[in-house]
Symmetry: C2
Subunit: 727 residues, 2 copies
């Protein structure tokens, strides 16, 4: 199908200095958790997007100086030595294969440089530290230091040209070093680099000059600008004077070929990479749309844009010339091509969950809820849109149309299998149907929408809805060749958690005053005073609390953690979660757990204790049967009307166990194998459940697809060359 | 000098199955942050200890299964494929060069497997998760799963033999999978692997059988046993029956050649790797010393032992046969050899600060406060005991005998330089003199003791104490060839912090009611009610709070963090810190900061606000001069008698700046260069300040020793071989 002419504007080329973007789709710099240290992984991730139609794809932030590095466990790229050049050249070559441009974002974090692994010392306009670099202060730079670091930028730019990059950035988003010089919040200097605008912009301007000179004529030069630190008049403001003057100055002096705009400080960069919980698509527009009035140069802006209609609006409204995307390009590397081919309904839209950031900030490779192949392109050889046809596809029963079952059925069908996907309930989606009713998580429904759409198109899948929970007899009678169970998980109803590994006495979701999250969403009666007991620390505890506070209940969260939803630190949501809790008057009791509950006097009396109530000195005389420290027994009784249990997830593995028990009958029924996909095998985050369904379908002919096949592990192998060598 | 005959017993050989330890010094498995992925770094770290006289050195925990992995950012070793064999063979070869044995600790974390990077799924006796693996549940293993995982252990053992290991462990410390099966806390099974002791020990026993069979006759087999989970009768207890029976069973069945004992659960393994704040040397003895009554096999025990007298006592008391060491071997890889050579006073004793763990748990390479060369042996080519003589050593003035100055002078002297080390105060040690007066930090004084001893022996260093702060004229008049300033840092006295980047109105440590930590230690008068304002989150805020609580003051900590001293999560101290705060009735106000203070009515009135008091929705209509969200203005007035400021460290760089300003005079005075070492260049953790002094001395002839020379970066280089390859 040809593309919708409404979208033609998105496919117009845009000139950026010496280069031309073939269309308006642009993958802005984004982290992936491996930087330039896993060159195959890095290159293949970016290459997929080039193949998928993006006019340009960029690295993440790329360190120019071991002293100014975002690193460990936030692995980024670097251009310090020839080893980096070799590794990033492979990325450029891979991207160029698809007629796309490759960009690199030269970066120095200034006073936010943890330098955990390399042990360098950073510089900044002032000798200070930040939340990002605990106890690691930057050196207050003198002019020699400034010249030296600008020299690193120039060296890195020369290496970038050697590697083959078409676009070279000087990073000034997220309040990195360039912005630390510009912003009066950090820059209190009284020398040539502080005071009036001309002085505060000097570091950035000179750095651009040096980078431009080092890059020569072949590369386009860009700068990414955080147009608003979002801290009010103490920092850079989009409607203050500094940003307009920066834009006008850099254009006037011919220092850049285009501008890449975003918002925020590093310590709240979730205001840039906003989750759908707090930020709608194109949420940066109020802060960025007027910038184009100050420049004729092309402007990029991001904003979790997944709809071509929204993109067209961004262009024709004059907000931006180029559609920047990080997360939408992760969720669907083929987004531009799908628009071009008139297959808009095939776009796998980003749900704005930020699990990508969660995982790379926790020290692993990025993952994506929607795109199970992200970061697996190289190490597992997975292409997001192409599937090996099974040599001898048979027919498969998939039980359960939750996220893992949907994905498994989708991929099996794409591989040529005949699939029956049977769902007990009238609607597909599994527990995602509940998640979308948590405050702010409606967009997570795209997990279902995309897969429902793909399955509707697939010719070899039949989806049976509302068939009720299958019994073991029904499964056997189905006589499928292979069976995949994807029956999900449920929340424990007895207070079981990993904290005590036991149920909580007096707690039972079968009673009126105790609820699981499923029961809350299903509408079980909730009293006025609610305790949410949260051992999980991710989306569900805070989701329950906000859901019920929004309905007028008085809510207190009890958790063993130091704060509510600590995992949302890694999705960058914690500051706004904390503000939300305060604004909605949700109380919380950290470092606490429940030892028992009893119903009395028309209420539930819950015994809450401090998990650190025992003595801090260990005994010198341990005795069997006694805690080897002073045992604390203090507890408070909190009275409530309803207790909501977010304590543990329990795999729905009853059907599997029953089938296993009757394994002897399988052969007679023609059943060769039964596998478990996703949460019914082991509960996990949504991205991992979908990955598991996907992986099983990819590896369906392996000796045991229940267990992942080996994958390439990029690392130094002893005897291979090392870079750099010692003096 | 020959060794003291009292220590002869430490040098007796010990037979362990088919192998013999040449003496009783044994480096137990410990993490270093790089695992088998940086093979040169791994090998050289371990080799130094072999050279330093340890009879055996081991890897850290070594993963046998991508589904049961402690990984990212806690990087450990693995034996999954041929790449691992190549990398660890290099370690074995390096260790064997010094006639030492190499050990590997095969490990599966069970329900504590985050599997962040590899995306595998773990198994456990029960389908549960832990604090270590948020939202990542283990699969409740059936017998097939158990057999499969035991097969991974066997495969890894075969690979270990290929790599050349002499000792192969099955890990059962820290409540890993083996212990999860043994412990009734986790194991609630009713099959052959649950219930009576014989069933609960079956997984461990069978795993040992398989490993022993796979290893053949060439390797000694060990198991590391956490003899007490320290959770009382719910878990494994050292005086309970299970541990005795394990030891007796494994000996009787000939499954192991020796036992390596420790204590604790994974979620509080700081009870094993105890800091000096909470645990004295040999703190595990009450839990381990009776185990030898149950076995004739050799027994190892750790306990931060650095004194040969203590070690002798451990042996002759019958507590253990072999002295296990992790941290003491990091602080001084040459500890055994120094005892052997009669140089006990040269031992660089571990201070028990756990910065080693802090750094590897934060995702970088391990570092060591005492041993600046740790983990730098390969990538920077540093030997802990050998120093290149400078080609043309001149003479150097070092100003300031704090940690960086002491270390710089020590290394410069070892390299042949003539050094004058001048200290303003009567005593050397800089801010470490203050740290040792914080509760529990007395052992940190070893930083000074070691260096004082070494400098006293050095023939080319003169230490001048009590000379007062040097003026710029004095430095110039000194006419040294090169000058190193190591003048340290101080705590801000005006409330400046990275939170607001401004002083706090009304706060001044020159006034009676406001104190810096230095003033507290120096004895400035402190009132009854104390607020400790802590932006730092490491040792000082909690140190001040405990110091003052111990003296009877009522203390409240105000911090922007979610809890007091969050960095001590990474030193494994947070649980006991939390218990201590509760026990000593130290209150805290998290997520809070101070906007102003004023003295009135004979007290200090401090306006404390919630750092998340602003609205959580961002405005759609940003305006210059206004915060782009609802601005909160709520604040509480907390009245106190004294406010202690732990808000920011300020480099003492006045002397440097004054010298720089008179650079024109240097040449006439024969001064070729002036450098800044440690905190006076940029404040940092103690280990980094010492590293900086060390590094500058090592690189003293480089063009600019102020800036670190490049080092080898181990990583995959595109084009080099990868392991494993795809299908």
């Amino acid at each position: 199908m040809p593309r919708d002419p409404r979208y033609d504007i998105l496919f117009e080329p845009v000139r950026i200095g010496p280069k031309t973007l073939k269309n308006r789709f642009y993958q802005v710099p984004h982290c992936n958790g491996v930087g330039s240290n896993r060159p195959g992984t890095q290159a293949k991730l970016r290459e997929m997007k080039a193949e998928g139609g993006w006019a340009a794809v960029c690295t993440e932030a790329c360190s120019v100086d071991p002293g100014g590095q975002e690193q460990a466990p936030h692995e980024v790229s670097s251009l310090w030595d020839e080893g980096d050049v070799i590794n990033l050249r492979h990325m450029c070559d891979s991207v160029h294969r698809w007629n796309a441009l490759a960009g690199v974002e030269l970066c120095h974090l200034g006073l936010s440089s943890p330098n955990i692994d390399c042990r360098g010392v950073s510089i900044a306009p002032v000798g200070a530290t930040s939340e990002w670099s605990p106890q690691t202060y930057a050196h207050a730079a003198d002019e020699d230091d400034i010249a030296r670091v600008q020299g690193y930028f120039a060296e890195a730019a020369r290496r970038a040209v050697q590697a083959g990059f078409d676009i070279i950035y000087v990073h000034a988003g997220h309040a990195v070093l360039t912005v630390q010089f510009l912003s009066r919040l950090y820059n209190t200097r009284t020398d040539r680099y502080g005071g009036p605008f001309e002085n505060r912009v000097r570091f950035w301007r000179e750095t651009l000059e040096q980078v431009k000179r080092a890059a020569g004529d072949g590369a386009a030069i860009a700068t990414r600008i955080s147009v608003d630190q979002l801290v009010g008049p103490d920092g850079v403001e989009t409607h203050g004077e500094d940003i307009f003057r920066v834009v006008e100055l850099f254009e006037r002096e011919g220092l850049v070929d285009f501008f890449d705009l975003n918002v925020s400080n590093l310590d709240e960069w979730g205001e840039d990479a906003g989750t759908s919980r707090f930020h709608r698509a194109n949420h940066q527009a109020p802060f960025t749309r007027h910038i184009k009035q100050h420049t004729k140069l092309p402007v990029i802006n991001v904003g979790r844009l997944t709809s071509p209609d929204d993109m067209v609006q961004v262009i024709i409204s004059g907000q931006a010339d180029i559609i920047g995307a990080a997360r939408p390009s992760i969720a669907d590397p083929f987004l531009p091509r799908k628009i071009e081919e008139g297959r808009v309904e095939d776009i796998r839209e980003c749900i704005g969950c930020n699990v990508c950031i969660l995982r790379s900030d926790r020290g692993g490779q990025m993952v994506c809820t929607q795109n199970a192949t992200s970061m697996e392109e190289y190490r597992r050889g997975w292409h997001p849109e192409r599937f090996d046809r099974a040599p001898d596809p048979g027919w498969v029963l998939v039980v359960g149309a939750g996220p893992a079952g949907l994905e498994c059925a989708r991929v099996l069908a794409a591989r040529g299998y005949d699939v029956h996907l049977r769902e007990a309930l009238p609607e597909i989606g599994g527990h995602v149907r509940q998640l979308v009713r948590y405050p702010g998580l409606a967009e997570w429904g795209r997990v279902i929408d995309y897969r429902a759409g793909q399955l509707a198109k697939a010719t070899t899948v039949a989806v049976h809805r509302g068939v009720g929970a299958m019994t073991v007899d029904e499964v056997l009678a189905y006589e499928a060749e292979k069976v995949v169970l994807a029956t999900g998980a449920r929340w424990a109803g007895d207070g079981f958690s990993h904290i005590t590994m036991r149920p909580i006495p007096g707690v039972d979701a079968a009673s009126a005053r105790v609820c699981t999250p499923e029961q809350v969403i299903a509408g079980k009666a909730i009293g006025e005073r609610v305790l949410v007991l949260d051992a999980d620390g991710y989306i569900t505890g805070v989701g329950m609390a906000e859901h019920l506070a929004d309905r007028g209940h008085g809510v207190t969260v009890v958790t063993q953690h130091a704060q509510v939803a600590p995992q949302l630190l890694y999705t960058l949501e914690l500051p706004n979660v904390q503000r939300m809790l305060r604004e909605k008057r949700i109380a919380y009791r950290p470092h606490a757990w429940v030892e028992a509950a009893e119903e009395a006097g028309g209420e539930l009396r819950v015994r809450v204790y401090d998990v650190y109530r025992d003595g801090f000195r260990r005994t010198e005389r341990p005795v069997a049967g006694e805690l080897p420290r002073r045992r604390g027994d203090a507890a408070d009784v909190l009275a409530c009307d309803t207790l909501v249990l977010v304590t543990a997830r329990i795999a729905n593995d009853g059907l599997y166990k029953a089938l296993r028990a009757r394994r002897a009958e399988w052969a007679a029924r023609g059943i060769k194998a039964v596998y478990q996909a996703g949460d019914c095998y082991a509960p996990r985050q949504l991205a991992e459940a979908i990955f598991d369904g996907h992986r099983i379908a990819r590896e369906f002919e392996s000796p045991d697809p229940q267990i992942a096949a080996p994958f390439i592990r990029e690392r130094q192998i002893w005897g291979s060359p090392v870079y750099p060598t010692l003096g």
